[in-house]
């Protein structure tokens, strides 16, 4: 595959792959949440991504932004919990930002992640270092801004890597939000579950573009 940019149909296909990846990752996501939260993160993400997959299968999207927003809405209304609000906002806000884009290229990726990150932070009030999805999302958005001019494949490679190291960095953080916040130091050593989810999402996007 390995493309410079994706058309609507391909974006839908890529998102479908993201859904599959997250659905299949339920056990490790729940396990991650069990260490620092209430153990249901994988189940919530699975529920959200199953709903999103159905929406994607229905099709009929007029544009790329609507497809991304549909994933957000499906997650938002099927998941509930902290992650329903957070990931729903991530895709909805991010999607809104690529309105008008005919193709999903590195520039669109950067716009998507920037708006996604802003939306998530506005909703959840978390900063980098608070041991949330923001710890993977913010560096990913930054990296995307830096690689706006690169081919999509290359950009996604770096973005996935940034998300991955953000997730890894979350291991050493003390949580300030979500159920993990009450654990204090107890959560140190475990990565944030939402950060793990996000890093798997961009990984799946990368794998679609560069299988």
């Amino acid at each position: 595959m390995s493309k410079e940019s994706l058309n609507l149909e391909e974006v839908v296909e890529m998102l479908d792959g993201v859904c599959d990846k997250i659905i299949a990752s339920e056990p490790i996501l729940s396990e991650a949440d069990r260490n620092i939260g209430d153990g249901d993160h994988g189940l919530g993400m699975q529920r959200g991504m199953t709903a999103a997959k159905e929406k994607l299968a229905e099709g009929g999207f007029p544009s790329i932004d609507k497809a991304l927003m549909a994933v957000g809405m499906a997650m938002m209304s099927s998941m509930g919990g902290a992650s329903g609000a957070i990931f729903g906002t991530l895709f909805s806000n991010g999607g809104k930002a690529v309105a008008g884009c005919e193709n999903f290229d590195s520039k669109a990726l950067a716009a998507f992640l920037k708006a996604a990150c802003e939306g998530v932070q506005a909703r959840g009030k978390a900063e980098v270092g608070d041991k949330t999805v923001v710890d993977a999302l913010a560096p990913a958005a930054e990296k995307a801004a830096e690689t706006e001019a690169a081919p999509l494949e290359e950009a996604l490679d770096s973005v996935a890597e940034a998300a991955e190291s953000g997730k890894e960095a979350s291991k050493d953080m003390v949580a300030k939000f979500g159920r993990a916040k009450s654990l204090g130091d107890g959560a140190v050593g475990h990565p944030d579950a939402g950060a793990l989810s996000f890093s798997l999402i961009v990984q799946a996007m990368r794998d679609y573009v560069k299988p």
Binding site: R34, G37, S77, G84, K181
Partner: protein, 336 residues
């Protein structure tokens, strides 16, 4: 540890099915609304509405507190997951009788984000919404950071009083004032001795070494004050009371309280009563008078073992609303 076998159907459909079963338990007094709400029928026009809600799996709360002189409706999430904004909106629309809606729920990130989004959607529909967060768990943050505290079993006492008030007052502001007072007068602390399990996977909700107890641990296994070796009820009672009485709620000679000893799931009522026996003389020593005692497993986390102690300091107004009768699946009371 082998988990308690469960009698269910599809492990992923528990939340939806228990809501159906809950609606059925009201025998026509309540109905299901939209995707995941339960709402009382026959709410009179002009009634100030009380909406509660939260994740499922903690039955009978919150949705089992819908009832006569109790909550008018509940927005229900999946197992351990706050309800999504559209469910909150559906519930809000169904309970609103033109006088506005009070959201009353436990202070968890997921609940706050989703209820806030629900409130935004409701305000687009011109429904007035106010929110009172329940943050009674004194073990979860120091008193200066109340907004970081979790909501645990004290919610039962607060919802009971708010439900009675909602049936009596004629403005949302008045309901907010009374509910805030009840909330501000409530303190709880829990102790966990074994985890519950997640219905969908059977996995334990947290890890706790055998023979240990998490003092101040939250109902999902959130961090508490300390992890100790399990001790006797008589040894534990003063520790729990010390945590509650050491907080910023003034409680002493002549004060009257409600006392609620709650099981987190499989801890027996025998144990709650033994704990009650240990608590009462300690309160009496301080001159604190227990006006009414509630014993039960109302705020649970599946078959989790452990218990919590909640106190609500009464004044004449709160007592008046406490004394009103109420009827719900989770808590009922004859007129005092």
């Amino acid at each position: 540890m082998n988990k308690t076998p469960k009698i269910i159907n599809d492990p992923n459909a528990c939340a939806a099915e228990l809501l159906d079963g809950l609606v059925e338990a009201y025998d026509g007094a309540a109905r299901k609304v939209g995707k995941g709400s339960i709402v009382m029928n026959d709410l009179p026009e002009g009634k100030v509405a009380l909406l509660v809600g939260g994740g499922s799996g903690h039955e009978p709360i919150y949705h089992g507190l819908v009832g006569r002189n109790m909550a008018d409706g509940a927005a229900c999430g999946d197992i351990f997951a706050a309800p999504p904004p559209d469910i909150v909106l559906e519930a809000t629309q169904a309970v609103d009788r033109g006088k506005g809606v009070l959201y009353l729920y436990g202070n968890y990130a997921g609940d706050v984000m989703n209820f806030d989004m629900g409130a935004e959607l409701a305000s687009d529909e011109d429904i007035e919404v106010q929110t009172v967060l329940i943050w009674d768990d004194v073990a979860s943050a120091p008193p200066e950071r109340k907004e970081d505290r979790r909501g645990i079993a004290g919610l039962v006492l607060i919802v009971k009083i708010a439900g009675a008030a909602a049936a009596a007052v004629d403005s949302l502001e008045e309901l907010v004032r009374i509910t805030r007072k009840a909330r501000d007068n409530t303190r709880s602390v829990g102790v966990a001795v074994a985890a519950g399990s997640i219905p969908a996977t059977g996995a334990p909700t947290f890890e706790l070494e055998e023979g240990k107890m998490g003092v101040g641990m939250g109902i999902h296994g959130e961090k508490g004050v300390r992890v100790d070796t399990i001790c006797t009820a008589d040894e534990l009672a003063p520790q729990l009371l010390e945590i509650i009485l050491g907080d910023d709620l003034e409680l002493g000679e002549g004060d009257e309280i409600l006392l609620f000893v709650n099981s987190l799931g499989s801890t027996t009522q025998m144990e709650l009563l033994i704990m009650n026996r240990a608590l009462k003389p300690l309160l009496a020593e301080k001159g604190i008078k227990v006006y009414d005692t509630v014993i039960g497993d109302i705020v649970t986390c599946q078959e989790m073992a452990g218990l919590s102690v909640s106190v609500l300091k009464l004044d004449d107004e709160l007592k008046k609303y406490w004394n009103m009768p109420c009827q719900s699946v989770g808590y009922s009371k004859m007129e005092s």
